[in-house]
């Protein structure tokens, strides 16, 4: 959990947390950024924000994560935060089938408002509630494959796979970014803080930063 000095990072990746209300988005975020879980947490109104800097594939990556209110009506405010996001963690609750059924609506939401090359990871949260499970791992796995998403199940409460989920999506973003910059297509993406200089290591493979626009 040790955090590095503020501005010491190679890449800054903006990631959004989306999914139905009550699936545990805020607790996934607090588990990842502060190693905290709050049983008495309030519903999120609008958006929340947190960051963490970590090592991914030998690079120092700062994840800038926007946590959004899950209720449908809040999309009027929250969808603005999809813009410029390189990754989306689309969370459902393994004990509530409707939150899984709504995943397709969230995907549509991303297609409508996010950059087309956004990396999406499907997350089935609350695996600690074993006796209440109502969405089979295999069903979610095959759905994710069909839609081209990566997939993992987590428990924010028991701190299972949370670190891994973020590691995975950040690594995937990194791989795409470095490929993109090599093939010198349009700048792969931006972070919310456009125009801010990002420190890039001297590595020959990553001459350009992802956030140079």
């Amino acid at each position: 959990m040790a955090r590095r000095l503020d501005e010491e990072y190679d890449y800054l990746f903006k990631v959004v947390l989306i999914g139905d209300s009550g699936v545990g988005k805020s607790n996934l975020l607090s588990r990842f950024t502060r190693n905290e879980f709050c049983l008495e947490s309030k519903s999120t109104i609008g958006v929340e924000f947190a960051t963490r800097t970590l090592q991914v594939e030998g690079k120092t990556i700062k994840a800038q994560i926007w946590d959004t209110a899950g209720q449908e009506r809040y999309r009027a405010i929250t969808s603005a935060y999809y813009r410029g996001a390189l990754g989306a963690l689309l969370v459902y609750d393994v004990t509530k089938p409707t939150t899984f059924e709504n995943v397709s609506r969230w995907l549509k939401e991303l297609r409508d408002h996010a950059d087309s090359n956004i990396v999406i990871m499907l997350i089935g949260n609350k695996t600690d509630l074993k006796h209440l499970r109502a969405v089979a791992t295999e069903d979610a796995q095959s759905y994710a494959e069909k839609e081209g998403l990566s997939f993992i199940e987590t428990s924010a409460l028991e701190a299972i796979n949370v670190e891994k989920a973020f590691q995975m999506i950040l690594a995937e973003i990194y791989r795409i970014i470095s490929k993109k910059t090599l093939s010198s297509e349009e700048p792969a993406a931006t972070s919310i803080k456009e125009g801010k200089t990002i420190l890039v290591s001297g590595d020959a493979n990553t001459k350009k930063t992802c956030c140079s626009t």
């Binding site: 008495e40 947490s41 519903s43 109104i45 609008g46 924000f49 209110a69 009027a76 603005a80 801010k196």
Partner: protein, 371 residues
């Protein structure tokens, strides 16, 4: 002690306060929750002063509120001044109902609330249930699962979602209802919610919760402009750091500061909010930014966001913050900015969409209230 513990196991009453509570019933944070909550015993002088204040207020209200309207008509400025100093806590529930116009609604609509709670069903029931335990989770009244606090909160929200099916239930409404329920009965809280959302005395708040959240968007746009005008240096800094009010102020408007502000401050803001309307939210927001401007102006993006969501305790002392807020003049600018916003909104390509969003506004006439 022993006896109490035994009886608590069998009675469905409130949980025994195993953790220390502040004077409003919130579980105390480790260090301190609020300066007021901390003061264990107030001095005899303060108590006496408080008693004098309550007597003055009682005289002004009359028995059960009978003299209130008369007094307000005769001396509106006295009422305004006294409310700005804070309504005595023991009279808050009653005065809130008088100044919001909810008492009149209640009297005009006997039996309606019961009808809504008992006989109607709402499409939002599951959404409401999901959020019940996530509303003021650290308050003793709402902590007990299926306890009286949670039941009342559910009933009020469900009743409202039936009463206005276009709005239904939206996250954030629970904090309004929850705050009201700490000061009045379910039925009273319901009608106060109606008075606010339908606009019994001030501009209706329902646009905060309608599809597209049109009023949230408008208020945020107005607030952004007011920051630029009143605090130009900070406004520039926000622009450079790409901070916009939706990152920190949506909850201020959607829950009228009840979501995350110290409770004693939220109450004082609500006193003024119910009497003077939403402009106090703008004023308090601007006062907070002004109070912290010297610090905020030095911070880069991420720290700035953090600071805007975690104001220091001294900034949130009502006795310094509120006088600052009162001195900010916003009424006229709010009018102009609203017109400008509406003009822009109509010209934008989304105009048709957003006019659709402003569904028909139900006017506050008795026949609309009866269903």
């Amino acid at each position: 002690m022993e006896k109490k513990r035994v009886s608590d196991e069998f009675e469905p009453g409130p949980l025994p306060p195993t953790r220390p509570l502040d004077r409003f019933g919130f579980v105390k944070q480790e260090q301190s929750f609020s300066p007021e909550g901390l003061t264990k015993s107030r001095s005899a002088y303060e108590r006496e002063r408080e008693e004098r204040r309550v007597r003055k207020w009682r005289k002004m209200i009359g028995v059960g509120g009978s003299d209130w309207k008369h007094y307000v008509r005769r001396k509106p400025h006295v009422v305004k001044r006294r409310i700005r100093k804070g309504i005595p806590d023991c009279l808050r529930g009653l005065v809130w109902q008088l100044i919001s116009g909810s008492r009149d609604l209640l009297l005009m609509n006997p039996g309606v609330y019961e009808q809504l709670v008992i006989y109607e069903t709402s499409a939002s029931e599951l959404d409401i249930i999901r959020d019940i335990s996530r509303t003021f989770p650290s308050h003793v009244f709402f902590q007990q699962r299926h306890g009286p606090g949670q039941r009342s909160l559910y009933n009020v929200l469900k009743a409202y979602s039936v009463y206005d099916r276009d709005v239904g239930y939206v996250q954030g409404m629970g904090f309004l209802a929850g705050l009201l329920l700490l000061y009045m009965s379910e039925e009273d809280a319901f009608w106060l919610l109606v008075a606010l959302l339908k606009g019994a005395v001030h501009a209706p708040m329902e646009g905060l919760y309608q599809v597209g959240l049109p009023l949230v968007q408008q208020y945020l746009s107005q607030f952004e402009q007011l920051v630029k005008e009143n605090l130009p240096k900070l406004g520039d800094h926000f622009l450079r750091e790409m901070i916009n009010p939706s990152m920190y102020a949506s909850q201020w408007f959607i829950t009228v500061f009840s979501y995350s502000f110290p409770f004693h401050l939220a109450l004082r803001i609500w006193d003024v909010f119910l009497y003077e309307g939403v402009k106090i939210v703008f004023k308090v927001g601007l006062a907070l930014l002004r109070y912290c401007e010297d610090d905020l102006i030095k911070l880069p993006f991420e720290k700035l966001i953090h600071a805007l969501r975690n104001f220091p305790e001294d900034a949130m002392n009502p006795d310094t913050l509120l006088p600052m807020a009162y001195s900010v003049k916003v009424s006229r600018r709010l009018q102009v900015l609203k017109q400008e916003y509406e003009k822009r909104d109509n010209e934008s390509p989304h105009a048709s969409e957003s006019s659709e969003k402003q569904v028909q506004t139900v006017t506050l006439k008795p026949h609309n209230l009866r269903r």
